[in-house]
Amino acid sequence: MTPFFLRMSRVFAKRTLNALTVLFAVASLCFVVLQLTPGDPVLAIMGGGATNATPETLIAARHEYGLDRPVLVQYGLYLSRLARGEFGQSFSQHMPVTEVLRVQAPPTLELMATAFAVAWLFALLSVMPTVRRRYSGPLASALETVCAGLPPFWLGLLLLWAFAFELGLFPPAGTRGVMSIVLPALAMGIPLGGFLAQITRESFDLALDEPCILTARARGLDDRTVRLRHVLRHALLPGVDLSAWGIGALVGNAVAIEMIFSRKGLGRELFLAVSNHDMPLVAGIILFIAVIYIIAGLLADLLRRLIDPRLKASYS
């Protein structure tokens, strides 16, 4: 039997290696995809085909951004810079990529966190009181299915129309204050909540048949306490696993939602960066998103161990 710390450091080393492989693959894929898309970043930045720039200006721009070098050299430089943690200068934004991330990431993370909270809140409120209830059960289940199927951008439009345009309860646009985050967070959180609810409902249903639940009831606990204290703990695991995926989905949906609600953030920035072929910025944002994914995976894993003590044993 190996000592505990050695076991843990092995797990840690394996995880780090995995994470680095993922980041390398993401960085390379990002480079290849942008190379394959037709078009010249310098022309894109300088105003497209209608640019009035002198040839000297275009040459200066190509040289400044290193775009006059062979593609393989560009790739090598790109990877070595990333390895040193240098994200470089965004061509289209005229500022360091790290600065763009520093300014644009917080509003997106805030939005994602709120949406995530909305999703779990919705899932728990919809599932816990209704599983195996004669009327409310099927009704809530149907509602969850419908919500899971809603495209976030479409839901965003509806919410915008109803609560901002018609009723005027929320501001239609912007990144100012608590009110401005409500509609976008609902638009992103409700569909994810639908998914989480569906999967939790199933595991909740199974958990209700566990012998330990029968034991709990036999001890005289009332139904609410049983559901909250015992069943939920058994039923949470699949939802926690799905959450790691859900965070990735939230990043993707943030692009459309930030555009619709004119919010500042990484999603909108990514859209602009891709349309300008701004390689350093696209790479910076994508890698940042990849890191979020990896962290979400790690957190989900940790959380599973916390919720389910049996998993701790499985490493020995």
Binding site: T37, G39, A60, L157
Partner: protein
């Protein structure tokens, strides 16, 4: 992705025009009041606040608030003194002497003088500034001599009669030479001008904050008042979605919006709390330029047939609800030296179009009515960039439908901007959708003369002459117009140039680009600056 956003945009527009709520009540005021904050909302965020770098329209809209120019232009196209009190030009037209005001300082305390003029023109012409617009407009610039503190002598390598006209544009505004010494990217964040406002903050993707310059007393001669601006502060907010922008105005979240979409124009007119401010931009109007390098548009008869098969007026009344005027000639009617005789040269005439196509040999037809010649169908490929607005797309769909009636198969090909730019640089299109805003008739030299064909060869790179039109007679006239400063002679030459361009059927011209604002009734005296028709908030005041 872009289609998804288009669909979103369309739905949003429909939704927004149905919503209608009331503005907060405001006091009626007749005398201008000082103070207050105005919130302005626009569609696109500038990529750099220094108007010399790149030079896209969103940049000049902000620049107008914080930089001044050497000269100003009034509504009739006349050039007036501003930071330069007077100027003379040498016999050969290549040396311009500017006499400058003595009492102007930039908002960082640097005095405005001849050395500042030199620093600015050098900065625009320097390739490392990456200036597309300002640098492109002064390609003729070689150097500036500082004669004394307030006299600058500017040398050009060829005579350039449109020099003063381009100097009036905010793109060529004067910035503090001390600020220009910083790196380009630093100057992009916080450029320094001598204008009525100064940049105090820029929260990317959200808003730009400008505060009043209290020392300002050198306003343009076109302004309504003198002295410092009336507003304390401008918040310049970025709201890309047109309908959301309009909804924000209706909700009272913002005071002024620009780029009002055509769908919102009627609701805005009906709303008693709002008023509209509109002006057509000078230059080459919104158009589709026909590519003469390949069939079918090598043949002038086919070009005329295509232009005459497009029912643009019909499309303008249906897609733009009749709010946009027609621009039928190569120049927008608000351009100096515009020649009204070319206005109806390419009017809708399907009968003549059919006759021309018969003459050109496109006689046979496929089963679905598309004309063919030697078995080749009469196809017109139009790349459509994803950034085009929904209404421009619908306009081209109408052209597609009416041209089909005479036997053209118009294929609208959607793609992202960089892909379309790439196809354009390789001459891979039959029609290129575009426009060129500038305050001079010299725009025709950029879009039609052979000097702007780009480098030869298959890897052609950029070219502004999208038609690939090359006519020595036209080149000679358009270049001659730059050599003379006599307005009558310029008028004659530009009129001839317009006649040649429209007779060659190089473009389907549709409507002038325009500045369209909707404003709260609490906002007064917002002005449209005449050289490029951008918003000026110098005179503006607000009551609440």
């Amino acid at each position: 992705m872009s289609h998804c956003f288009l669909a979103i945009a369309a739905v949003l527009l429909l939704l927004s025009v149905t919503g209608c709520r009331q503005h907060k009540p405001h006091k009626e005021a007749t005398n201008p009041v000082a103070g207050g904050t105005l919130v302005y909302a626009t569609d696109r965020e500038p990529v750099c606040l220094d108007p010399h770098v790149h030079g896209d329209m969103p940049q000049v809209f902000v620049a107008e608030q914080f930089v001044d120019s050497l000269v100003a232009m009034d509504k009739s196209g006349k050039i007036l003194p501003w930071l330069a009190t007077g100027w003379t030009v040498s016999e050969d037209g290549r040396a311009w002497t500017f006499h400058l005001r003595h009492d102007v300082t930039f908002t960082d305390g640097t005095p405005f003088n001849a050395a500042a003029v030199k620093a600015n023109l050098d900065h625009m012409a320097n390739p490392h500034t990456l200036s597309s617009t300002a640098g492109g407009y002064i390609k003729q610039y070689t150097s500036t001599d500082v004669i004394d503190d307030y006299t600058a002598l500017v040398h050009l390598d060829t005579p350039y009669a449109a020099f003063l006209e381009v100097l009036a544009q905010g793109f060529l505004g004067m910035e503090s030479p001390a600020a220009l010494l910083r790196s380009r990217d630093e100057n992009c964040q916080s450029p320094v001008g001598s204008g009525p406002f100064r940049i105090v903050g820029w929260d990317r993707q959200n808003e730009i904050i400008l505060d009043r310059n209290p020392a300002y007393h050198w306003g343009p001669p076109t302004a309504l008042h003198t002295g410092p601006a009336r507003l304390d502060r401008i918040i310049w907010r970025i709201i890309p979605e047109a309908s959301v922008r309009f909804a924000s105005l209706q909700a009272g979240e913002v005071d002024v919006i620009d780029s009002l979409p055509p769908e919102a124009e009627t609701p805005a007119q009906r709303n008693p709390d709002l008023w509209l401010l509109k002006a057509d931009l000078p230059g080459n109007p919104t158009n589709g330029t026909l590519n003469l390098r390949r069939e079918p548009f090598r043949d002038a008869r086919v070009r005329e047939a295509f232009v005459r098969s497009a029912d643009v007026s019909g499309a303008l009344s249906s897609v733009f609800f009749g709010h946009y005027r027609r621009a039928g000639g190569p120049l927008s009617p608000s351009t100096p030296f515009y020649n009204p005789e070319t206005e109806h040269h390419g009017d809708y005439d399907p009968d003549r179009a059919r006759k021309l196509l018969d003459e050109a040999g496109w006689i046979a037809r496929t089963a679905d009515g598309i004309r063919t010649r030697n078995g080749v169908p009469l196809q017109v490929h139009i790349p459509m960039r994803s950034s085009l607005s929904a209404s421009v797309r619908t306009l081209w769909e109408q052209v597609q439908a009416t041209a089909r009636a005479t036997g053209f198969d118009v294929i609208l090909e959607n793609a992202d901007d960089t892909t379309v730019t790439d196809r354009e640089s390789r001459w891979d299109y039959d029609v290129r959708v575009g426009y060129w805003n500038t305050n001079t008739a010299d725009v025709m030299r950029i879009v039609f003369s052979s000097a702007f064909l780009g480098p030869p060869g298959p890897q052609a790179g950029i070219h502004q002459n999208a038609a690939s039109f090359s006519d020595p007679r036209f080149d000679q006239i358009i270049n001659a117009a730059l050599l003379t400063n006599d307005p009558e002679e310029r008028k004659t030459l530009y009129a001839r140039a317009q006649t040649i361009a429209s007779a060659a059927f190089l473009q389907i011209t549709t409507y002038p680009q325009s500045t369209r604002m909707a404003l709260s009734r609490a906002v007064h005296d917002v002005r449209i600056e005449p050289s490029l028709n951008v918003t000026s908030l110098y005179d503006a005041w607000i009551t609440r």
